[in-house]
Amino acid sequence: MLMTKFKAAAAALAFAAAPAAADVDLQFYFPVAVGGAAADTIEELTAQYVAENEGVNIEAIYAGSYQDTVAKALTAARGGNAPQLSVILSVDMFTLLDEDLIMPFDDFATSEEDKAWLNSFYPAFMENSQTGGKTYGIPFQRSTPVLYWNKEAFKAAGLDPETPPATWDEMVEMGKKLTLKDDAGNVTQWGVRIPSSGFPYWLFQGLTTENGAILANADGNEVSFDDPKVVEALDYLVDLSKEHKVMAPGIIEWGATPKAFFEGQTAMMWTSTGNLTNVRKNAPFDFGVAMLPANKRRGAPTGGGNFFLFKGASDEQAKAAFDFVKWISGPEQSAKWTIATGYVAPRPETWETETMKAYAAEFPPVLVARDQLEHAVAELSTYENQRVTRIFNDALAAAITGQKTSEEALKEAQAKADAILQDYR
């Protein structure tokens, strides 16, 4: 209790520009997953809003990683002092509902303008934000995976440096040309790298979507891990190493992936758009960014965090929180945020601003993620999300490391997930 008060005081100092006699006080938790600049930007934007809106005081609390933020919000809520607003992974929506902590934004969208605003986001982002006909999350720091390729390596392999693989088959074909060996037969450069440590399901969902599978239903209580299309996608992933030998065998570390790309260990990599700024700054060669290759269709998951509105807020607080979220998702604010972090601006309107147009003209790869959105689907999300995705991750790891066949692994995962999810049907 004392600490909370102390923190409130500290925050009050930080926002000295805010009006002294604030009518509505809001607490707002946010995580940062891409380094320090993001936190500064959120704080700046919040301060700007507070300065422009008399009678509202917002305390923006940097809560650490996504894990920390959801933990902190859960603990605070259980202790009866939930924040009014928090940015949390969009996939945690069902967990938050299960804990009975959040309320829909629809209740506060009273005017026509508000309702139009609720409908102004890219549909791919809203898939993870709505259930049972209600909108519980407003997209904020959202991303999607893309393919990065090393143009110099392509040239050296006799490939057109401007043409990335557009299909699964092309990725294998090009990968074979791009995989280089030394005299002893040891690989010095791999064709492609799809990291599989930590949360392999996310990039793998690119493959399942491209193969026409949807992993979970919109109610978050059914999964289709053993769908033949999912099995086929996993076979493809496993075969990249086993059959075609264009990707390193075993689990591939997510964190070391950009470095492996810079070091020329791999000619192509799949990773988040959140890496764009990093790659631009550190790649010692010319590189390109493309949509993930297609099989039956184009496809990719979305990722990242949404705004959630917490129960326990008074009516005034909820209204003020709603207004703040609406403001921060406005075109200029959103453009500023996107440019600072590399997250994908979640509304088409943002991309129409002069700021964004100028930015995209200067650095066209940022458009790839936006253009991919029309093919994108919801990130895997269910009730008891951490547990269910963990089951899926374990199955993927078992298949990748060759302990089980894709089919065995996924059948088992399906059975385990069903056992957990049947309570929610």
Binding site: E99, V187, I251, K259, Q265, Q386, R387, R390, A397, T401
Partner: protein, 291 residues
């Protein structure tokens, strides 16, 4: 009268320490058992009596058996090796040696650096392709390795880091013990014609017995407790191949928010430690007596 005053003094002296000991060790150990008989409370459903349901789940949980087995391997691999290496280090640093200061400093470093930070460094060593091990291996003509990314070597990779960390720490205890062994004893043995190996086996090793016991208790506890590096190195993967009991407890409790099942897992851990405790106390009684 005087005697009871002495009693009261003693109890008062013990009171503050025991408040904390009981509040954060003994009581939670008991409430863990209690919690394991209930379901996990969720927002919409409060906790209710579950009887042995959690234990049923436990027996049917393949991950539990896997992490238990992993933990056994982890203990069997790290405990003896780190103790032997620590002893060898101490023996080396205790003798005349060119550059002894540097060597001792090198052995000390693991004690000072946080596990969470060195795990990042070890991750670089293990990284396939451009990591240190592969760079050295590559220069010698070996192919790429993927120690942390293969199911049969990930645990091994984690164990190496543990041994590195522990041996340096245990060495300090051995070094202190070695320096208390009277040199006259060794001189005398030498005069009688005993060789280096005989002296070590007949004099040094027996005199180090109390230290070995102390260190081995520490090593046993650590084999259940040291999981920090797993967070960075493997996250318990691939497919739980490098997960340990405490790491699994953490995941169940603080990622899945299933505190009741986490309590059940903790009960198993406590039972193991109790068995070890009883065993150790017997050993203590036999070999070392505290006046």
């Amino acid at each position: 009268m005087l005697r009871t005053r002495g009693w009261i003094h003693a109890w008062l002296l013990l009171l503050p320490g025991f408040v904390f000991l009981i509040a954060f060790t003994h009581l939670p150990a008991l409430t863990t058992l209690w919690s394991s008989f209930f379901t996990t409370p969720r927002g919409r459903r409060p906790a209710k009596w579950a009887g042995l349901e959690n234990y049923d789940t436990l027996i049917g949980d393949p991950i539990f058996w896997k992490v238990l087995w992993n933990n056994a391997i982890y203990a069997a691999g790290t405990i003896p090796l780190s103790i032997i290496i620590a002893l060898v280090m101490a023996l080396w640093v205790n003798r005349q040696l060119a550059g002894r200061g540097f060597v001792r400093m090198a052995y000390f470093t693991p004690t000072v650096l946080p596990m969470i930070a060195v795990a990042n460094i070890w991750m670089f060593f293990y990284t396939p392709g451009f990591g240190l091990i592969d760079q050295i291996g590559g220069a010698l003509g070996f192919g790429q390795t993927n120690i942390l990314g293969s199911a049969n070597s990930a645990l091994f990779g984690v164990m190496v880091v543990t041994i590195w960390k522990e041996a340096g720490f245990f060495m300090i205890f051995y070094l202190a013990a070695l320096q208390t062994i009277p040199t006259s004893l060794i001189e005398a043995a030498r005069v009688e014609g005993a060789g280096g190996w005989t002296i070590f086996r007949r004099i040094t090793l027996p005199l180090l017995m109390p230290t070995t016991l102390f260190v081995s208790i520490n090593a046993v506890v650590n084999s259940f407790r040291m999981v920090d590096h797993i967070f960075i190195l493997t996250g318990g993967g691939p497919d739980n191949a490098s997960s340990l009991l405490l790491f699994y407890i953490y995941e169940v409790a603080f990622r899945f928010w299933d505190t009741a099942y986490a309590a059940t897992l903790t009960v198993v851990l406590l039972v193991f430690l109790m068995i070890l405790a009883i065993g150790q106390f017997f050993l203590f009684d036999r070999k070392v007596h505290y006046r």
